[in-house]
């Protein structure tokens, strides 16, 4: 066993040394940091302004290189599906009722609990704002979607797991996620350039997908067990 470990560390040492040298060689052939050589970037900025999208990153993501974003959104769907398959209760396992877990994090300070509830609508609003202004200012469907997906789980911070489970009907989120993704497939391939619509579709999809993934992790951490 020790011989194996030794071999592993030797390989690592040799590999790291070699990689460091080779990577440095490659990097020294790059233009210096902060330079002015960005032909593709300059073209993308011009194209974005011609199309009237002030946030050029949004333009690249949802218009010029919409196929990349399509792949990215589908990876998200795949990982939500993956969470459903990989984290399902299998064989001997069974799920507790959510009601048995009234208290989430062992001891929630009262102050935290009091701030948790009002924070929820505020966070949702912020998320919607970020989605809606994606073509103008930094942000967009993805960033807003993550905020929305996390917002729901603020309820857990307040210690109210049953409440969280109630407002998180999994099938509904699945339908929302896949419908939004389907809309985005059509947008990305057939109607590239609909930046606002794309932002909304991606926002819904990302929000739902992250809720689904987190829901599965919460189930594993709190509810699923092997009966004695």
């Amino acid at each position: 066993m020790n011989a194996v470990r030794g071999l592993r560390l030797c390989l690592l040492a040799a590999g790291s040394l070699g990689f460091a040298v080779l990577f440095t060689l490659a990097v020294l052939d790059l233009p210096p940091f902060g330079g002015n050589f960005h032909p593709y970037g300059d073209r993308a900025v011009r194209a974005s302004l011609l199309r009237g999208t002030p946030n050029t990153v949004s333009s690249v993501n949802f218009d010029q290189r919409s196929l990349d974003t399509l792949g990215e959104e589908l990876i998200l769907v795949a990982s939500a599906l993956g969470a459903v398959v990989l984290l399902r209760a299998v064989r001997r396992e069974e799920e507790d009722e959510p009601a048995r877990h009234h208290l989430g994090p062992a001891d929630v300070f009262d102050a935290l609990r009091v701030t948790g509830y009002p924070l929820l609508p505020v966070t949702v609003l912020v998320g919607v704002y970020i989605v809606a202004h994606g073509q103008l200012s930094p942000g967009g469907g993805f960033q807003g979607g993550v905020v929305l997906g996390t917002a729901l789980h603020l309820l857990y911070l307040t210690g109210d797991y049953p409440a969280l489970a109630r407002i998180r009907p999994v099938p509904l989120f699945e339908v929302g996620e896949t419908a939004a993704a389907a809309v985005f497939v059509v947008l990305a391939l057939a109607f590239a350039g609909q930046v606002i619509a794309s932002n909304v579709a991606v926002g819904v999809e990302v929000g739902c997908a992250f809720v689904l993934v987190l829901a599965k992790f919460f189930e594993q951490a709190l509810l699923i067990r092997v009966p004695a």
Binding site: V4, R8, L9, L11, L12, A14, G15, S16, G18, F19, L22, L25, A26, V27, D29, L30, P31, H38, P39, Y40, G41, A44, V60, D63, Q64, R65, S66, L67, D68, L70, G71, E72, L74, I75, V77, A78, S79, L81, G82, V84, V85, L86, L87, R88, V90, R91, P171, E174, V175, E177, T178, A179, A181, A182, V185, V186, A188, L189, A190, G193
Partner: protein
Amino acid sequence: MLSPVELAIAVPFLAAMVLAGAGRWLPRVVVDAVAMGATLAVTGLLGAVLWEAVRYGTVVVWVGGWRPHGGVSTGIPLVADPFATALALVVAVLTVAALLFSWRYFTEVQAVFHTLMLLFLGAMCAFALTGDLFDAFVFFELMSAVAYVLTGYRADEARSVHGGLNFGVVNSLAAYLSLTGIALLYGRTGELGFAAVGEQIRAAGGPDTGVRVAFALVCTGFLVKAAAVPFHFWLADAHAVAPTPVCVLFSGIMVELGVYAVARTYWTVLGGAEETTARALAVFGGTTMLLGGVMCLLQRHIKRLLAYSTVSHVGLLVTCVALARADALAGGAFYLIGHAGVKGALFVGAGALLNRFETVDEHELRGRGRDMRVTSCLFLLGGLALAGLPPGGMWLGKVLAEHAAPHGWWWLTVLGVLASGLTGGAVLRVWLRVFRGAGRRPAGQAGEREAGETAAPTPRVPWLMLAPGLLLLAGGLLVAVLLSGPEVLRGARTFTTGYAGTVLHGRPSLAHAGRLPELWTASALVKGLAGVTAALAVAALAVWGRRVPPAARARPVWSALHTLHSGHVGDYVAWLLAGIVLFTLLVIV
């Protein structure tokens, strides 16, 4: 209106979203039908695109209409040249076979399995067709993410999730290293399209050290997918535990797409005639052929055995790329299609065993397959085809590759016979033991029991399961007769020449067809028979000749090889890093 190329990507994704959203309410038969319908539609679409590409030349589609002006664009092209389209078509056909296999029997969680298969199909098609480096990375990741889930699909089996995790860590790291290479290329050239990057490098006077290191990094990501030694460790862990229909796709095409991506990058970015790169690829390809074959023979878990045989065969494909000639690539194409059919059929056979006996341990199964005539047939013919039985695609591919090899590549012939003998022999050994009950009962501990993939053990001849296997086997054996040699060669020439001109400047792409060397010559047939003879000899020795002194003396070597494949993710990553350094050194020095 979307072009057929875009539709071929949109259809599976849309169908997948329908199944993912509505799957929990749909009856099983509808789920099966939707998935099959979408896959057949993709097959038809890609068939039409292939016909167009072969007849009129490469079809280039700029997604969102961002066509190039003056040779530059800000969009992403889909490039349907004959080779890329044919590969996507292989993906679609194998998916049809896999869905047929899982029709009715396969245990399902909502409609997740079918959704994942459709996502996998779309991701592989997009990966084959894209003409953009970063987009290739994205779809590489999509196909990997789906593949991890499919590998761990039977989450109640320890081996499944362990294999899935090893697969996931190694492949993701590889993808990030590829992306590092892509970032370096972007820094150098300021472009992301295969064609645009290549043009910039040519304009700058050809590749220098920095470009070569970046190229090597991009390629190592793809070589990990292609399971070249020493990046191959994940493959057996994943293939041995993935559900049978998934293995058909993994072994038949996903791994080979890695080789395709290396070839695509090699020709578009570096220009395709680099002595150092050829050497690096040849070293890795040759080692892979040999080690894969040896590891294959050492297995008793049948799916793991088939997995290592895939490693060995991919080695030959890598060597075809190393030869850097159109006729070698044409050989690679024949080999790839032949292998996809034969290996798919063998995995179907292994699946039939698993679902009837709940084990695929060769020793446990000894003699128990006597009444399975069809499955037995699959294994016998499959083993012979892997060994290079004429007129199989693998025979023709190997003959063409050897024909294209220059002087000094004598080792390719030797390794070719060895790899054929070892991989074919291992499968024939399984056939002898399991279906003929041959030989003594081998000593050693009992194999591990596995859960079947179906709700109940399947009948003796589950026709719906075996039919795709028979069709695949027939396809793999007859490919040399069914495909037009000159057209394949023309496809290879289109692949190796004029890519940037076609994509960026709309120049016509049809290459001259040219002629393949005469196929049915005595020497070609002798080469095929040499492989088959070697396989028969290996199988006979393995079953009846357990006391052969050389094999016994080499036992420490075998056990060391087993120890090397430790299932330890840290080991795999350490080998990955060392392999990258070696490959890069070979490319730049």
